[in-house]
């Protein structure tokens, strides 16, 4: 299949920041490469300068979900290009690099430097991370999103995926703005702003005060936003949020997604995406769909409230 000019073996990617292929290789060795579960690998979001990330605690388990407040720890652009990119190039699938910055200039610097590298197949713009100020501002506003994408479009000859925030009144409008401004695809949802309480002190539990919710708890919300966005734009949509099974993947595809991503489910089982893919084929067969695109045609107009 092809999405935004990217050739993929199958429709299951990873969510940015939910799988570190280099760390996983330390844990699983080359068995990881032999059984690599994703059809394309999305890196954790990188920023212009190195970041240490948020003070712990960074995690809180909720009913059927997880709050994280990681704070985008990363080596920064230079460290990523020098150390990580060559190692990531050994993965058997196309590489999509997720990037974030807090100004147009910084964004342009990161995007052009990353796009210039031959190891990189596509870029994803994280304008939706709830843990860093710029994500909130850009991703919640159609205008901000459009102006950013327009600016980056000119410095990025590679496919540009815009990752939408669910913390917006109307994600469809943001997606439409991104399309208008030249994005090649959109992906959603990122995590939903959430908070936990210290069991002993009743103060905020997370070191950074609040974080983002992911996992099965958010799946129904994600599915709705994917359906609304897919109804609004003709760009390919990469759907994610709580996908744990092939059934769930099929639901996102039926709602209009072209591909899906597995995030939190990989924490519970590093090979979850492999199972999701196998179950998805099984679902298609059971319900008599000949192809993914046939499943996508099911979708009813999603204008209802």
């Amino acid at each position: 299949m092809e999405i935004a000019g990217l050739r993929l073996e199958h429709p299951v990617l990873n969510g940015s920041g939910t799988f570190d292929a280099l760390a996983a290789r330390r844990a699983f060795g080359d068995d990881l490469l032999a059984r690599f579960p994703f059809s394309g690998f999305v890196s954790k979001t990188i920023t212009p300068e190195p970041r240490a990330g948020n003070p712990p605690p960074r995690l809180y388990e909720t009913p059927s979900g997880l709050i994280n407040s990681i704070g985008l720890p990363n080596k920064g652009l230079a460290g990523f290009l020098a150390e990580d990119l060559p190692a990531l190039a050994e993965l058997p699938v196309p590489l999509i690099v997720s990037v974030m910055a807090t100004s147009h200039d910084d964004f342009e610097r990161v995007v052009s430097a990353v796009a210039a590298r031959s190891e990189v197949a596509a870029l994803e713009l994280n304008v939706s991370c709830p843990n860093v100020e710029s994500g909130l501002i850009v991703g919640a506003s159609a205008q901000e999103t459009a102006s950013l994408v327009e600016a980056l479009r000119t410095v990025c000859p590679k496919p540009l995926i815009v990752k939408l925030t669910p913390n917006a009144s109307d994600p469809g409008a943001i997606a439409a703005a991104a399309e208008e401004a030249g994005a090649d695809a959109v992906s959603l949802i990122n995590t939903i702003r959430a908070r936990a309480t210290d069991p002993q002190t009743f103060e905020p539990w997370l070191g950074a005060g609040s974080g983002g919710l992911s996992g099965p708890a958010v799946r129904a919300i994600a599915l709705d936003q994917v359906a609304r966005v897919a109804a609004r734009v003709s760009l390919p949509v990469i759907g994610m949020g709580g996908i744990e099974s092939g059934r769930h993947a099929a639901e996102f595809l039926a709602a209009g997604a072209t591909a899906v991503a597995v995030g939190t489910a990989s924490f519970r089982d590093p090979g979850a995406a492999t199972r999701v893919l196998a179950e998805l084929s099984e679902e298609l067969r059971r319900y008599g769909f000949d192809s993914l695109s046939e499943l996508r045609e099911v979708r009813a107009p999603s204008t209802s409230t």
Binding site: A24, P55, P57, E61, P73, R268, P270
Partner: protein, 281 residues
């Protein structure tokens, strides 16, 4: 550095083959037909089947140090020492023989050999507190197998938190208990301090695992006396294989390490503190 044993990629199913209660804790064992034998200090991410319970938790798998590992047939019988402190540990503590255990592992960096940790040292000192004695049980055996002399200091809060001693098949354990029900009345680190006073710093290497406050005391004592030490750390974990960046512990040089891939066993002088917000219970 003693190399980590790599885990097969993905989650697999094992069967519970034994379960017993011991001094407030539970020891359970599982037959791991497809995994390699682990090294001391490594851990596994464990979950039952079914897993999610009342109130939607537990949701994520939970981390457990391997306390013993014995070959059986093609596979390995893994033993875990478990204290029920919340929904995840309670669910695991309730598993009966025959039940399915979902397993990812072995994970993380193991303890080093004494020669690696403290070149020239005459013997190892193992310092364990509470449920933290688990990885030391396997370490004690592997040191013994390598012919490394080792003394073992174990501390407990009270009788209700004192299980698993029988995992150590050696007689020279010294005990401490906060309530004085066994051995020295006080902290296990009191014993360590005394022992290191007598010792020449160059003759020992320390391996420790236990609650954050105990590890921090070990770190301080060893730093003061320049005794090389390795700590097996804990931190809240979502994944166990470096994917989530959740298990952060501050480094002495600034920034954070991930306990699951950069640890759980770390050099005591590598971290800024063992008292990490959100760790322990």
């Amino acid at each position: 550095m003693t190399e980590r044993v790599l885990a097969p990629f993905g989650r697999r199913e094992c069967r519970i083959v034994g379960r017993r209660e011991t001094g407030g804790y539970v020891v359970f064992s599982a037959l791991d037909a497809a995994g390699p034998p682990p090294r001391a200090g490594q851990f596994y991410m464990l979950a039952g089947e079914p897993w999610e319970g009342e109130g939607g938790r537990p949701f994520l798998a939970r981390a457990f140090s391997v306390a013993a590992a014995e070959p059986r047939g093609e596979g390995t019988v893994l033993e875990f020492l478990l204290e029920a402190v919340g929904p995840g540990t309670a669910a695991l503590a309730a598993l009966e023989p025959g039940a399915v255990l979902r397993v990812v592992g072995p994970l993380g960096a193991p303890f080093s050999s004494l020669a690696e940790l403290a070149p020239g040292a005459a013997g190892a000192i193992l310092v364990g507190g509470g449920i933290g004695i688990a990885p030391l049980a396997l370490l004690r055996r592997s040191l013994a197998a390598a012919g490394t002399p080792a003394r073992t200091l174990l501390g407990f809060r009270d009788e209700a938190h004192s299980g698993g001693l029988e995992l150590f098949d050696c007689s020279e354990i010294r005990l401490a208990s906060e309530d004085g029900h066994a051995g020295h009345k006080g902290y296990v680190t009191d014993l360590l301090a005394v022992m290191l006073q007598g010792d020449d710093a160059g003759t020992a290497g320390v391996y420790a695992c236990g609650p954050p406050a105990m590890l921090e005391a070990v770190r301080a004592i060893c730093a003061e006396r320049s005794v090389p030490a390795e700590l097996a750390m804990e931190a809240p974990m979502a994944c166990g294989f470096g994917a989530c960046f959740g298990c952060a512990v501050p480094l002495a040089t600034g920034g954070y390490m991930r306990v699951c891939v950069d640890g759980p066993v770390v050099r005591a002088d590598a971290i800024a503190t063992a008292l990490v917000a959100g760790s322990g219970h």
